[in-house]
Amino acid sequence: MAKNYSISGSNASQAAPATVLVVAGGTACRTRVFDIVIGSSPAPADNAALYQICRVTSIGTSGSNPVIYALDPIDVTSLVSSTLGVYTGSASGEPSGPVALLDIPLNMRATFRYVASPGAEFINVLSATNGISLRQFTSSATFVATGTLIWAE
């Protein structure tokens, strides 16, 4: 039975494009991202942004590694953390080769959640440094976005 894990984090305060989170299974496991939450925690303002869920071929310059939480505490440690790890975006070195799988236009005041049906999760290719990223592709102003990704291994 698949084991589920989650991470949360924010992107670096930089002009878009700015990666929020990357889940890189690499060659260790195939991650199936099925739940995505996007929002903004700074003081609300009328700013718009386009977020994307992308399949990336390199994880770029690693920022900090957010803690990976198993949804079932009895599950083993995620394989993702033991190989390439996951990270919040840094101010430089964005992941390369992004292929947008989902476009989410969103106002800064709003929160959006996407839940994939079983069998329709976003899957990363089992190749080195491949992963699924959540990024702020364009925005009307520079602001920090916060996201949560939940995946199954």
Binding site: L101, T111, F112, V115, I123
Partner: protein, 98 residues
Amino acid sequence: MLVVPKHSILRPHGVGILADPDLPHEQQSDYRQCIHCQKSWKVEPGSGRLRGFCMKCNGPICGPRCSECHGPFEKVCEDIEAGRVPGSKIILSVPYRI
């Protein structure tokens, strides 16, 4: 009588839930996913966007750029991981008697 909202579909591939303080309640939208590349889109009848359906893979496709069939995405994944060209066929030798 069962009422089906205009922007919903049977068996969506995903659901998007939008919570906006300017709206009186949450908005839910159905999403479909391309069988070839996994690109997902919000179902919007009358949007004018050209989508399609792959009769080989028996699933929706995101548009003309995905009209060439290399197989379902899981098959493409396996091809890439095995170092094969996506969509290549594996020819098995079949024993025969002359």
